[in-house]
């Protein structure tokens, strides 16, 4: 395995080709090997990768701890529902709605980011958490005095993505083969995810990316170097929120139904766990984190089947154990790889450094130490 990877590393073009083939074939491999529910899981993996990449810009690049990130996901989803569902009788096509939703979320990113510019570390975390909850509560309650969000009942019958006359909402029957909508959404989500990865990678090495790194490591020094910390922090919030809004719009189209239950604080925490677990600031790590934390709870559903296969009957109810094991996984992964599974080169160095240096770096990561 290692030899194969090494030889691939020397031939990036071959690696690209193989990756393309694999990504294209993945839903079919999963669909026929494990069942269609796994294609749906795959779709959610891609959505979470998109979310994690967006949050990584805020937390990983610019070092701003955001615990209310899911609010932007919610804004994108609700905007899609407003513009493409029977609620207001509007049925705009997705290529109009998605950009508007992303921009709408981005605007909110700036609006919510502006008052928090002076805050650091954990204070920022609690304020963003507050914003996330405020937006969810508004979504849950704005069915009166005018019905904007339909309140806790949620918004139903949201239009699926439609390209020309082809609707993603219905299964496709083709030469005796039935392809459920999850397959089409997979390719759509994949396209957006690849675009997001491309943008995030380019951003990291850009002037802006380096400025963010400077702010993350030492804001005062960054300002002294002539970096406009205010604008760059706002830009990070806006960029992150834009990705969140995009993912939200896709989620609304995919599910066809949204309600405030999908946008709880727990979701924000989950996305944060993804990037920390995978390796903050490092795109492959973030992707790995999103994949793992979406797949593990689903895979743990099979504990019941496993028991049936090995012991003949279910001894421990899988639903009793699923979240417990998820917690154990979180803790043990952090204990054994505290910098994440695939840390960025810089953070790896910080860890290998002498204790004193590490501690200094640690303090600078989130600058709340007095």
């Amino acid at each position: 395995m290692k030899r194969v990877l090494d030889s691939l590393r020397r031939r990036p073009r071959l690696a690209f080709a193989l990756l393309t083939v694999l990504l294209a074939a993945l839903p079919f491999i999963m669909g026929f090997g494990l069942g269609n529910s796994w294609v749906r899981v795959l779709d959610f993996v891609l959505l979470y990768v998109l979310l994690a990449i967006g949050l990584n810009i805020v937390v990983g690049y610019a070092g701003l701890l955001d615990l209310g990130y899911i609010a932007f996901y919610a804004l994108g989803a609700y905007l899609y529902a407003w513009l493409a569902s029977p609620h207001f009788g509007l049925h705009l096509p997705f290529w109009v709605v998605l950009p508007i939703g992303a921009a709408f979320a981005g605007l909110f990113g700036v609006l919510l980011g502006a008052p928090t510019l002076r805050l650091r570390g954990d204070y920022l975390a609690i304020v963003t958490l507050g914003f996330g909850e405020i937006i969810r509560i508004f979504m849950n309650n704005l069915n009166a005095p005018f019905n904007l969000t339909n309140g806790p009942q949620g918004m139903n019958l949201i239009d699926p993505v439609r390209i020309a006359t082809f609707s993603f909402g219905k299964p496709l029957h083709f030469h005796g083969l039935t392809l459920p909508p999850t397959y089409f959404y997979y390719y759509l989500f994949l396209a957006f995810t690849l675009l997001a990865i491309f943008i995030a990678l380019r951003l990291q090495d850009s002037r802006i990316g380096r400025a963010w790194a400077a702010i993350r490591e030492d804001e005062v020094a960054a300002a002294a170097m002539g970096i406009n910390t205010r604008n760059l922090k706002l830009l990070a919030f806006a960029m992150g929120a834009t990705f969140g809004g995009l993912a939200g719009g896709l989620f609304a189209a995919f599910q066809g139904f949204i309600s405030p239950e999908s946008f709880t604080l727990w979701e924000s925490i989950l996305v944060l766990c993804m990037i920390v677990l995978g390796g903050m600031g490092n795109i492959p790590g973030v992707i790995l984190g999103a994949i793992l934390l979406t797949m593990i709870p689903e895979a743990l559903r099979y504990i019941g089947d496993l028991q049936r296969a090995t012991l003949g009957h279910v001894v421990v109810d899988p639903s009793d154990l699923r979240m417990l094991l998820f917690g154990v996984a979180l803790v043990s992964m952090m204990l054994f790889r505290p910098a994440g599974l695939l840390p960025s080169r810089q953070r790896k160095r910080e860890f290998a450094a002498e204790n004193g240096v590490a501690e200094q770096e640690q303090a600078s990561l989130y600058d709340a130490k007095a």
Binding site: R118, I134, L272, V276, D320, A339, E350
Partner: protein
């Protein structure tokens, strides 16, 4: 007017509960700068253990007076929570003391999930009701109705806070705690056993959490394995509001948050002419929190943190 007094009483009692839990957050944060997400769950475990003891005692000795039974429950719950917090710190947080600050945050979330689900396995998915053991005497004060338990909760919160303040400011352990919070290295050089001080901080916080847990479940008449999460979140917000790391701040933040919630729920509809109702109670609380932090980024009683040079 009597309605307003009643709302104030409601808020103060709720706030005292927040404050009791917030003390644990603020102590740990003050010394480690760690948001101990599992603290809310420790509170829940305290309530559950006490309820188990109470159930056993009521079965074994039905003639015991209710107050004695509840006290026995608390007395078992306190060491149980202390042991739990000691174990959590040792297993989940200590190995990560030198890791980036977000790593222990994630383990804290993990520990919180583990405790919730363990509690679900042990005590079941049911809501457990707190038996009616405590006297239900009520007093009337300026038209407001106050129960004995409510008074006990407020007084207990004040006493515990004062005790904690004395401990931190006057005792040897307290001095070691403050030294550790200032700088772990220097404290160590001065002969402070830093590990033991941190353990002690967790254990004291857990003992208070156990008391808070029993108080909460006695007051509302129920306990559930999920009860710690929201309570913890509110208490943490209270700690931040008051200035995290500051003991009087936790108390002030807790009381303030409780009063804001009560008055918000009671009057927001009248203030906004019916446009916003009591469903915006939490929004109201968060807006105040955000407002305070934006204008005083270190909380009400927190020391101002200078920008690091």
């Amino acid at each position: 007017m009597d309605i307003f007094i009643q709302q104030l009483v409601n808020g103060l009692v709720l706030g005292s509960i927040y404050a009791l839990v917030a003390l644990g957050y603020t102590m740990v944060y003050g010394i480690l700068e760690l948001i101990n997400f599992a603290h809310g769950e420790v509170t829940m475990i305290g309530a559950m253990v006490a309820l188990t003891v109470i159930g056993v005692l009521m079965g074994a000795a039905p003639d015991l007076p209710g107050v004695v039974v509840v006290l026995a429950g608390i007395l078992v719950a306190i060491p149980a929570c202390m042991a739990l917090a000691f174990a959590i710190e040792k297993i989940a947080y200590r190995p990560l003391r030198k890791a980036p600050r977000l790593a222990p945050l994630i383990t804290a979330i993990g520990v919180s999930i583990i405790l919730q689900n363990l509690a679900m396995l042990i005590w079941g998915r049911q809501y457990i009701s707190f038996p009616a053991l405590l006297p239900v005497a009520r007093f009337h004060f300026l038209g407001a109705s106050i129960s004995l338990l409510q008074i006990v909760i407020v007084v207990l919160a004040l006493v515990i806070m004062a005790g904690l303040w004395l401990l931190v400011e006057k005792s040897r352990l307290g001095r070691a705690m403050r030294a550790t919070a200032q700088s772990r290295e220097v404290a160590q050089l001065m002969g402070v056993n830093v590990d033991r001080v941190i353990s002690a901080t967790f254990i004291i916080g857990a003992a208070i959490a156990a008391i808070a847990g029993v108080m909460v479940s006695a007051y509302y008449g129920l306990a559930h394995y999920y009860m710690g999460f929201m309570l913890g979140l509110k208490a943490f917000s209270a700690a931040v509001l008051g200035g995290i790391g500051n003991i009087a701040g936790a108390m002030l933040g807790g009381l303030l948050l409780g009063v804001i919630e009560a008055l918000g729920a009671g009057y927001i509809g009248d203030i906004t002419g019916g446009f916003l109702g009591s469903h915006y109670q939490d929004v109201f609380a968060f807006f105040v929190l955000i407002g305070v932090l934006v204008f005083r980024p270190s909380g009400l009683l927190g020391e101002r943190v200078a920008n690091r040079a």
